[in-house]
């Protein structure tokens, strides 16, 4: 056996070019396979990111009676913290939970303005500016001015809304609304920023104001209409939900809150699953392609060495021994190639998971619309890396067998003749 190993080793070393080319092919195939998995997950996440950021979060916590009244933007079923102690402690406790990346409170209410005797209906969002920026990248959509700051009587609006109101950054606007006691009120705010977004909701209807201001004018001290949670991915949301329900139950005995994952009773869910399914199919196709690339390489190599095989047989090596030798070579190349591939694939995925792929450049000039998310964040997962590594090694080792077997079964004469 040792003799075979040495032989295999020498073979590999002697034909450096061939070995390097093979290992490179395997490495790239493995790297692509690993990266593609992360990319698919990232793409799935980002396809629905708009919905997650501006509607449901990955998980949403509301008063259970709020659901029905949501369209009316009711203020009488708010989230007021654990046992009415205020939302900020609740937000902090939620963020401390494992798997929760961000907890974002929002206070949403209906409002209107009447600048030129026309009624402009609007939607007000009382938010924590830093959290909003982290969660939705709204800051990157600012085309003028700046984001709102806590404690200030200011708002940020979309381009469409500002056009309807005939206002510019720096102007003041008087907003009419009903507070939580159903009293009709008006307050004046200064417009400090303008965003440009292709989502009509953000561009034409919505205005941001600091949550403390919203709480003040609506007489909802320390309250919000909902708390959204950001988790690692759409799928992660489901696994974390029980944990969140547990947390709420143990901290608040009123049974007031409902915890909803983004997909609950939502027609969008079907789309997500279909997308996941299709991307999985494509991923499998990719795996096949990678396998073919590796197989292809191995076949080429073995085919080339028919003469060598004949020589070895003539020298007395049994078929089984020849086969073993090839397998050793194959396994070795598989291991090395897969190792390189998985390490680089993993590193690439991990790096991009943090920094994201920015394809704005590629898109510019091809498509006019400005995209909210010209960034994809692949999902880094250690299991994928290990999977890629094992797959690469096994496929390589196995694919050596078939051509090797056929070659090893040739008569030495036939083999030698193939010069």
């Amino acid at each position: 056996m040792k003799f075979l190993i040495t032989l295999a080793g020498r073979n590999l070393f002697r034909n450096k070019m061939r070995t390097i080319v093979s290992i490179t092919a395997i490495a790239i195939a493995v790297m692509v396979v690993i990266f593609a998995r992360g990319l698919v997950m990232g793409v799935l996440n980002s396809s629905f990111s708009l919905y997650v950021q501006y509607d449901s979060g990955h998980i949403r916590i509301i008063d259970e009676k709020y659901d029905q009244k949501e369209k009316l933007l009711s203020l009488i079923h708010p989230v007021d913290g654990f046992n009415s102690k205020g939302i900020m402690p609740m937000v902090e406790k939620l963020e401390a939970e494992e798997g929760v990346e961000l907890a974002i409170p929002r206070l949403r209410f209906g409002a209107m303005a009447s600048p030129d005797e026309e009624i402009v209906r609007m939607l007000g969002w009382g938010v924590l500016p830093e959290k909003e920026i982290e969660f939705t990248e709204i800051e990157s959509k600012l085309v003028e001015g700046r984001m709102i700051e806590m404690g200030q009587r200011e708002v940020v609006m979309g381009t469409g809304l500002m056009d309807s109101l005939n206002k510019n950054v720096g102007d003041k606007v008087t907003i009419l609304y009903k507070n939580s006691f159903d009293a009709f009120k008006g307050s004046t705010f200064k417009i400090v920023g303008k965003v440009d977004h292709y989502l009509p909701l953000i561009n034409d209807r919505l205005f941001y104001l600091p949550i403390d201001q919203a709480q003040r004018i609506l007489l909802m001290q320390d309250m919000a209409t909902e708390i959204l949670l950001k988790t690692k991915s759409m799928s992660a949301a489901q696994s974390i939900e029980p944990q969140i329900e547990q947390l709420i139950q143990s901290n608040d005995g009123r049974g007031k809150y409902a915890v909803q994952t983004w997909g609950e009773a939502n027609p969008l869910l079907k789309l997500f699953d279909v997308a996941k399914y299709i991307y999985n199919v494509i991923y499998i196709l990719l795996l096949l392609l990678a396998a073919i690339v590796v197989i292809n390489t191995m076949v080429m190599i073995v085919k080339e060495r028919t003469q060598e095989i004949g020589m070895m047989q003539a020298l007395g090596l049994k078929s089984r021994e020849i086969l073993t030798m090839f397998m050793i070579e194959g396994t070795f190349m598989g291991l090395v190639g897969s190792l390189i591939g998985s390490v680089s694939g993993g590193a690439l995925t991990k790096y991009l998971a943090v920094h994201g792929i920015d394809y704005t450049q590629a898109v510019e000039g091809v498509i006019d619309e400005v995209f909210m998310n010209p960034m994809i964040y692949p999902v880094y997962n250690l299991e994928n890396v290990i999977f890629g590594f094992i797959l690469g090694t096994i496929v390589t080792a196995l694919t050596c067998i078939i051509p090797a077997r056929r070659a090893a079964n040739l008569e030495p004469n036939d083999a030698l003749r193939d010069i």
């Binding site: 061939r18 092919a25 027609p267």
Partner: protein, 413 residues
């Protein structure tokens, strides 16, 4: 031409080698085309909800109405028996069906709560040809005529309505006078479209017109074309016709009608490109890899050719032509299998429940199929790309091989 002939002969002589290289190309192309088709199918599903349930392929309305369409005003209405519409019907043969609607705002009332909704007066027989509403009827039946209504599941649940109950709609006529409709709930819809489930109440068009004192008036016309992709062009043509006739009405294609959904879908398109790029990358690596190995294998052959007097340039030429040939073969096979695959996808589709086990990640039942899309540009692109890559990949290895010393090459083992 001797060189070309030689190149082709080489291909024929080493069928196995040719086959192996071509295989990578074929497979790569096959997978590329299947993936592309599936992604289009996915995109279509996202859009379908909107088109098949809410926007149709094309809408015609007064320009002023478009600006305020969210408010469903009672201004800027069109006549129901419309010469213009008839003319359009006659002139364009790719219209499958058209219908008219009258929209207005109202509140729906169950004796305790009231809730703002939008009422849509429809022509049920024609709507069935344009929209898929009938397929989403959860309880009861499709709207017929008379004092009947059809609402979405969420609205029905919220207000506690069952089929057969009477729903009260409160609204103001054009003159600002209150009026009510008490309609029997004929059907409850459960659609993938939240607006329909929560906000719309469908009633027969004549009932709407009567109650508003707007006989013969409609808000807009909606069209189904024979082919959805003709929407943009059709709208442009119609607008040109309208402009020439000096009319103030305009045609809107489905993209304009679904801005929000479209934006999300467009974003998905970019990401799809990245996936496809990866597939191409992998296949390219495979091709290059194979070509290099082939070159390595044939050093002897190269040496022999040089010894026979062929110049380096000519040797490179042979290799490149060979690779181009392999590219053509591979691309052709790939296209053929790709076409078969896409054809099957488009017409038979893949059953969703097979993969997901019949339920979604949240345990809700899921059924149906995904159908692939037909994207001729992809075929053309990948066919040419396959040949180009194959050709280019061979240049460097060929040059490298051609430079080798003939003696060394022949005895390189």
């Amino acid at each position: 031409m001797f060189l070309t002939k030689l190149a082709i002969k080489n291909l024929a002589r080493h069928k196995k080698r040719t086959a192996i290289t071509a295989l990578v190309i074929s497979f790569g192309i096959f997978i590329f085309l299947l993936s592309d088709s599936l992604m289009i199918g996915l995109r279509d599903i996202s859009l379908d909800n909107n088109i098949e349930l809410e926007t149709a392929h094309l809408q015609i309305m007064e320009e002023d109405y478009w600006d305020e369409k969210e408010e469903a005003p009672l201004d800027y209405l069109l006549n129901e028996n419309n010469e213009v519409i008839n003319q359009i019907d006659n002139k364009y043969s790719n219209i499958a069906q058209h219908t008219a609607r009258l929209n207005f705002s109202a509140t729906i009332n169950n004796g305790q709560e009231e809730y703002p909704i939008q009422v849509i007066g429809i022509q049920p027989k024609k709507e069935i040809d344009i929209f898929e509403l009938e397929e989403y009827i959860l309880k009861g039946e499709m709207l017929s005529s008379g004092q009947k209504a059809m609402i979405g599941k969420s609205l029905a649940n919220m207000m506690g309505f069952e089929v057969g109950d009477y729903v009260t709609l409160l609204f103001k006529t054009e003159e600002g006078t209150f009026n009510t409709i008490d309609a029997e709930l004929q059907g409850v819809l459960d659609t993938p479209n939240p607006m329909i489930n929560e906000m719309y109440v469908y009633i027969p068009l004549p009932l709407a017109q009567d109650s508003l004192n707007l006989e013969n008036k409609v808000s807009k016309y909606l069209f189904r074309l024979k082919n959805r992709d003709q929407s943009v062009e059709m709208a442009a043509n119609l607008n040109e016709d309208f402009r020439q006739a000096g009319l103030s009405i305009k045609a809107y294609n489905w993209e304009q009608l679904s801005k929000e959904v479209l934006a999300m879908v467009r974003q998905g398109n970019i990401e799809n490109l990245v996936m496809l790029a990866i597939i191409i990358l992998l296949a390219t690596v495979g091709v290059i890899n194979t070509v290099i190995l082939a070159a390595l294998e044939r050093l002897e052959e190269i040496g022999m050719m040089k010894a026979l007097g062929l110049k380096a340039r000519e040797i490179i030429y042979i290799f490149v032509i060979e690779s181009a040939g392999i590219g053509v073969i591979g691309s052709t096979i790939g296209i053929i299998f790709g076409a078969i695959g896409v054809y099957l996808l488009k017409n038979i589709g893949i059953s969703i429940s097979a993969m997901t086990g019949g339920t979604t990640s949240f345990g809700m039942p899921i059924a149906g199929k995904i159908y692939g899309g037909w994207h001729p540009e992809a075929f053309l692109f990948i066919f040419i790309f396959g040949i180009i890559i194959s050709t280019l990949a061979s240049i460097l290895p060929a040059r490298w091989g051609a430079k080798k010393d003939p003696v060394k090459a022949i005895y390189h083992r």
